[in-house]
């Protein structure tokens, strides 16, 4: 098995076993790993929403696209490919404010 095939198998296994969010964007749905870590900026408490998903699943997502994760809408503000088949999206809450 080539290294690429092995990596793909590993990534698929990770998303299958560890995904904790259903992501909907532009009429497509796929599984992702969503974290919302506590953070403080300029004296405000808050959270840092990050979506990690397979590059293959998320290739239709462009910057500033709206993404629905577990019925909460976010905007994709940064796209960080890790070079190993994963894309990390830095998200902004889209609550109209």
């Amino acid at each position: 098995m080539s290294f690429n095939n092995l990596r793909q198998k590993l990534n698929n296994s990770v998303i299958q076993k560890l995904s904790d969010a259903v992501v909907s964007v532009k009429g497509n749905s796929f599984n992702g790993i969503f974290t919302r870590e506590y953070i403080e900026t300029h004296g405000f408490t808050g959270y840092k929403p990050i979506l990690k998903c397979l590059a293959e699943d998320s290739k239709m997502i462009c910057l500033d696209d709206k993404i629905l994760i577990d019925n909460v809408e976010y905007i994709a503000r940064e796209r960080q490919p890790d070079g190993y088949g994963w894309i990390i999206f830095m998200l902004e809450l889209n609550d109209g404010s």
Binding site: I39, H42, G43, F44, T45, G46, K48, E92, L93, S97
Partner: protein, 154 residues
Amino acid sequence: MDHRAMQVIAAFVSRITGLQSTGNRVYLNRTYEIEEDTRTAINVMLGEETPQGEFGFSSMDRIDNVLEIIAEIRVRSSGDSIDSIILQIRKEMHIALMSWVQSQTYPLGLDFVYMLYPAGTGNPEIESVSEKPTAKIETLWKVHYRHSILDPSI
């Protein structure tokens, strides 16, 4: 009776509490974090104080001081609306603090204060590491006031 600088800063906080944009979210030396659903706030801090002129003596029994007050505006909103919110807060704060000019009363309603004016604003610091971008900007105010050479509370 408090030090007159304390009376000044308390009156300053009181004057900018209740603005349309920030409501009662005006803090004095807020070092703790502000709740996540808060969108706007003002944190007021004591700045430098220097005697006016070489010694600050207006007579043998009085000292004239220039007290700096820093009002730090904090905003959490989408990036494209942060500037307009900051400027709206600055506008409301300015009108509230400078009304003494038109009404020809003592600044901040204190009879030992004889001048209050805006003395500059810094650059907004904007970060987007949270769910919504956040910004803070310092606005500087100068207050000229007088106190006794023997006791700064009178």
